[in-house]
């Protein structure tokens, strides 16, 4: 059973009187545990697509199903909030950490708002995930005391700490140098293997594509390529 299914999704932005079509009929299925890269040049619709998948934005047309039965268009705002709270993790281009909270607290935030996790359990989860992303000993630092790569790793930890069904990462490496980019991608791959978390991340950087296990290329809001596994045609 697929985790996610998009059926003829369209998105048109209205800019004054002009209609800007950003997504023009995308259908695809994502299986559980997949590590999918969405590749495309700037303006091709990657962010829009990820926002729609992440229930932050609504499609103009088409339907999205989670685990076959859940139709997103039928949910209210609060239900969507709840859905995100329990099932989705986000990693943004900017790390979007809260400057007055420590690394530990920033990560904790994601599960603080989930009921039924004891304080002890929470602490274990947060420390565990911070270790996994290589931030052992830096729990008490605030974002301004961390490097760009470290901040992005805190953001990854925050997305993963609740063990979500799906992590959406919109150009997570765009603000990082190549060394840090590689590290961040390696961590995401590692977590994908270790926890079986499904990842969808976007990039316009051809170098990042080598990490892809499934590569979906979009242009002008349409899927132009969708390749699986070993026979990936990735420029090395």
């Amino acid at each position: 059973m697929s985790l996610l299914k998009l059926k003829n999704v369209e998105k048109v932005y209205h800019q004054g009187k002009i209609d800007v079509p950003a997504i023009r009929g995308i259908s695809l299925e994502i299986e559980k545990g997949e590590f999918t890269t969405i590749f495309g040049p700037s303006g091709s619709g990657k962010t829009t697509l990820l926002n729609i998948i992440g229930c932050l934005d609504k499609p103009t047309d088409g339907e999205i199903y989670y685990e076959a039965e859940k139709k997103l268009s039928t949910l209210t705002k609060n239900e969507l909030s709840n859905f995100r709270r329990y099932n989705l993790g986000f990693i943004f281009q900017g790390h979007n950490l809260i400057p007055v909270l420590t690394a530990f607290e920033n990560v904790e935030f994601a599960i603080r708002i989930i009921d039924g996790i004891s304080k002890k359990e929470r602490r274990e989860k947060v420390l565990d995930i911070l270790n996994s992303v290589g931030l052992e000993g830096l729990e008490d630092r605030r974002p301004n005391e961390l490097s760009g790569g470290q901040k992005q790793r805190v953001a990854i930890a925050r997305a993963l700490v609740k063990n979500p069904k799906l992590v959406l990462a919109d150009e997570p490496t765009a603000n990082l140098d190549s060394e840090n980019s590689q590290e961040v991608l390696n961590i995401m791959l590692k977590m994908n293997k270790k926890l079986g978390t499904t990842f969808i991340f976007s990039t316009h950087d051809p170098q990042v594509m080598e990490y892809a296990k499934r590569l979906i290329e979009i242009r002008d809001g349409k899927v132009t390529h969708d390749e699986q596994g070993e026979n990936l045609d990735v420029p090395h």
Binding site: G54, S81, R85, Y86, N96, P99, V100
Partner: protein, 412 residues
């Protein structure tokens, strides 16, 4: 709890802004407390003066006289040598009592008239109740004979000096005109402007003879051990009067100061104005702060929404932050106000300093006012400061929290 912690930490993000907004609230609270203290002090002093110099603790008069007492009529009078009054004055709580005869007259200096309030007083007993003798500015206290004393304000107005002769023109009990020529033997300078400007005191016997009232008086003034006893004692006297089927009635100082209390109550309108100013100041400060914070933290708001926070929870963060500002502002304001009120209470403030010379507000007060102090006001204004901050933050917080997450995240 976590959101509260976050909200309070957010206060440290722009310390300067937090402090300035808080201080705006503090300033409003400080001004409110100080002005309230002055109002309380002013009314306390005015009342004290009125009781000391005009009403005494309690008065007894005919019920029908009470209804018309402002006109100071010459009917419904009491006998000066009054059995029941003597009887009740044996009460150990009664310190002193004295009869008075009030009437309206005009004073004349040979050139012009001026309406005044004339009071016939018992030259021996009156000073035991109303200590006018302590306020003689020039000359001496009233004695038996064709003498009079008046306030210095009236003397200045009519150009009278000690030893001058004054002429009072009035209607007798029968309605015919009569005059009294009396020698001015003393000038009064009291902290009660009405006494200074309006009152003419003459011996009771002189008044009775000239008005043809015989041995009648209009009221008896009583001083008790303490002012507070006036309510139970008045009740006790009134029970006694009704048992004896008399139409006499005792009125305590509060009832006698009714008009003054009503006037002092108008001071409360100033309080409302001050409260309104605080509301405006605090609201403007808090709204400004919340909007600036929300704009700065748009990406954060978007991120929190992506995490699954509801708009309500984001509003909560901003509101708690505003409550924090309110608490800081209220605390500083109450501390500063406490210092200000303490100084007002202990040191006082010279009225001429406040008004630049002219010293009458039309209410009886001295040259120097001392602030009053009211713990409830402090408590009230502390809560008020916080409440206004919280309420002011709700709308801008909602505005921030309702931002579309996508727009918030990618607003650049």
């Amino acid at each position: 709890m976590f959101l509260t912690k976050l909200a309070l930490r957010n206060l440290t993000r722009h310390k300067k802004r937090t402090v300035i907004t808080s201080l705006v609230i503090s300033l409003g609270i400080f001004i409110f407390l100080v002005s309230d203290s002055l109002m309380v002090g002013l009314s306390d002093m005015s009342l004290d003066n009125n009781v000391d110099l005009q009403t005494a603790h309690l008065q007894i008069m005919e019920e029908k006289y009470w209804e018309k007492k402002d006109e100071m009529p010459l009917d419904n009078l009491l006998k000066e040598d009054n059995k029941i009054i003597k009887e009740i004055s044996n009460n150990p709580q009664v310190k002193a009592y004295t009869p008075r005869l009030y009437f309206t007259a005009t004073i004349n200096n040979g050139r012009e008239d001026y309406p005044i309030k004339a009071i016939g007083i018992n030259t021996e007993k009156d000073v035991e109740v109303i200590k006018l003798d302590e306020y003689i500015l020039e000359g001496e206290m009233l004695q038996e004979g064709k003498f009079a004393i008046i306030g210095k304000g009236l003397a200045e107005l009519m150009d009278f000096r000690v030893n001058d002769y004054i002429t009072l023109l009035f209607k007798t009990k029968e309605g015919t005109y009569n005059t009294i020529d009396a020698k001015l033997i003393g000038l009064l300078d009291t902290p009660h402007p009405n006494i200074n400007k309006q009152n003419v005191y003459i011996p009771l016997s002189l008044a009775q003879n000239s008005l043809n009232t015989g041995d009648k008086v209009s009221r008896f003034l009583f001083n008790l051990e303490t002012r507070e006893q006036s309510i139970p004692i008045a009740e006790q006297f009134n029970r006694r009067f009704s048992q004896n089927e008399l139409s006499l009635k005792a009125y305590n100082w509060e009832k006698l100061s009714y008009e003054m209390l009503a006037m002092l109550k108008q001071g409360n309108i100033e309080n409302l104005v001050m409260l309104f100013i605080i509301i405006i100041l605090a609201t403007a400060g808090v709204i400004n702060t919340v909007i600036l914070s929300a704009l700065e933290r748009l990406e954060e708001i978007g991120m929190m929404k992506a995490l699954g926070l509801r708009a309500r929870e984001i509003v909560y963060i901003f509101v708690i932050e505003a409550a924090g500002i309110g608490i800081i502002g209220s605390t500083i304001g109450v501390i500063l106000g406490g210092v200000g009120v303490y100084l007002l209470k202990e040191v006082g403030i010279s009225l001429s300093m406040m008004t630049g010379g002219e010293t009458t507000f039309g209410i009886p007060i001295a040259e120097r006012i001392y602030g009053g102090w009211n713990p409830e006001t402090f408590f009230f204004i502390f809560i008020f400061g916080i409440l206004v901050s919280v309420l002011a933050s709700i709308l801008p917080a909602r505005w921030g929290a309702k931002k579309d997450p996508v727009k918030a995240l990618y607003h650049k």
